[in-house]
Symmetry: C2
């Protein structure tokens, strides 16, 4: 492998770049808020070159995962059908047009067609998941976030996936709903969080429980400064209740959470409240960097 390799995780709201040494170790990383949603027209190359200024030469090859491969991205990359491994992903890399970089390759997403006819999709998380599988052997990977992903995995393959709108629903309720007027701070309160998780696991009744954030606040059963934790617990608890039923998990299934440390810790707590006994975490950027490097290795030099 040439040392002139750059990996890029380009989501809707964030752009992250990794510069590797010739063994695939990350020498340096950079990030910006120039997510795909902020890039106008064909400014993808210019936006990327601005972030990686000083890193690249005319020999540099770039591998990109995420929404840069969506219809609104740099160039549309397909969805590879599950079950799929990283080799299948590498075989469907799409080359993006570029003037200033030797090669730009964009990773496909993953698609899982459910028996009931619903298609589940992901773009970006698959590269993190395959990166994580280089060093771990969980039965399930969870990539929490705006649209939280659960992937059942087996011997390097993603078997099926589910997406949960947990993070986006939380943000909308936290900032724009009737609850936002009651919540006067975001103190992390572990008891309120655990209460929310437990109630969601016990009730399986999210639309009802969301309103209890209001009534429990009005009656001062939960302090206004702790309501954000309670709301977060309700939503993550509901996600876990849905996910364990949909993907038929036993409590001793090894689970790996791939994300930034703080969010991973919340999910780990919630999974343990739910009775899961083998929960580990891994940094999401490390996983992405590893997955992108492995994609480049599998693609090979041109």
């Amino acid at each position: 492998m040439s040392a002139e390799l750059i990996g890029v995780d380009w989501g809707t709201t964030n752009l992250r770049a990794f510069r590797y040494d010739d063994k695939g170790r990350v020498l340096e990383s950079r990030r910006s808020n120039a997510g795909v949603g902020t890039v106008i027209g064909d400014a993808f190359e210019a936006t990327l070159c601005e972030l990686i200024f000083g890193w690249f030469t005319p020999e540099t090859r770039v591998f990109i995962s995420g929404m840069a491969g969506s219809r609104e991205g740099w160039i549309e990359a397909p969805y590879v059908a599950c079950p799929a491994n990283l080799i299948a992903l590498a075989a469907r890399l799409v080359r993006a047009p570029s003037q200033r970089l030797r090669e730009v390759w964009i990773a496909p997403g993953l698609r899982a067609d459910r028996p009931d006819g619903i298609s589940e999709i992901m773009r970006g998380e698959e590269t993190q998941i395959f990166g994580a599988l280089e060093t771990r052997e969980p039965a399930l990977v969870i990539a929490p976030g705006t649209h939280s992903k659960w992937a059942r995995v087996d011997r390097g393959h993603v078997i099926d996936t589910r997406t949960y709108m947990t993070g986006e629903v939380y943000a909308l309720l936290r900032t724009r709903s009737i609850l936002s007027r009651l919540i006067n701070a975001d103190d992390a309160n572990p008891d309120a969080f655990a209460l929310g998780v437990k109630r969601s696991l016990d009730n399986n009744s999210l639309l009802n429980l969301l309103f209890t954030a209001r009534s429990e606040g009005l009656f001062e059963h939960i302090a206004p400064r702790s309501l954000a934790s309670y709301l977060s617990g309700l939503l993550i608890g509901a996600e876990i209740a849905e996910g364990r039923a949909a993907q038929r998990l036993s409590v001793d299934a090894p689970i790996l959470i791939v994300s930034a440390a703080e969010l991973a810790a919340h999910y780990k707590t919630a999974l343990e409240v739910s009775g899961f006994t083998k929960v580990e975490t891994m940094d999401g950027e490390d996983a992405a960097a590893c997955g992108l490097w492995r994609l480049a290795e599998l693609k090979g030099p041109k």
Copy 2:
């Protein structure tokens, strides 16, 4: 009863007033957008008198239900504990200070303390529900809306209640989420609506199904103009799945939906898709007007 009686349903976003004849028939009604949320300081009397200009004399008595009795309202009225009937409600009317009207009475809300320690509350819907019970004998009343209320009823009493945040979650997702970019119209599509209802009933997995509005749109399984109906079906279906489990309803329980006609029709369809066989509807304003008149009768003249 004096003919000089006015009933007022004063919610967070709407204000409705009814002028009665001496038999309790509504002679005239008026409405405005001057909900409690828009009234500043002690401007409640002035706001009301503006709406009912020409209707009142120094002899007029006014009975009000809804958020006018909340902490942010005209004067705070208590929550009466369930089980409760209209007589219990009338006994806890709170008199609001007024210069220009002979008497202003504000109805209390209802409160149901669940075995698991959660308090369910309502303010305004209880008066509609008791109004409806004057002429109907359902086992359950549903008052759909921003915060949809389910009330189990028996011989004029509300036994317990549940609130579902269905309408508010729909509005947030429809207008402010990633889904809002995909939805390019609000054509009512009965098939997409029924599909959403069925999927929620089959899966009990709302956070996951909400995201399918995106994937089903991307793959054009559902036309963009029909996604709003699908989303509405998912949410109303989830509410019904939660409600029938929480309140242990058999499919032949008589259900009365109290709301504006269009919303009532959606709920009736969804309940019938869910297998309920005895579903009726009643106009929400008629129910409120009837409940307010009965409250005044029970209070008696002063």
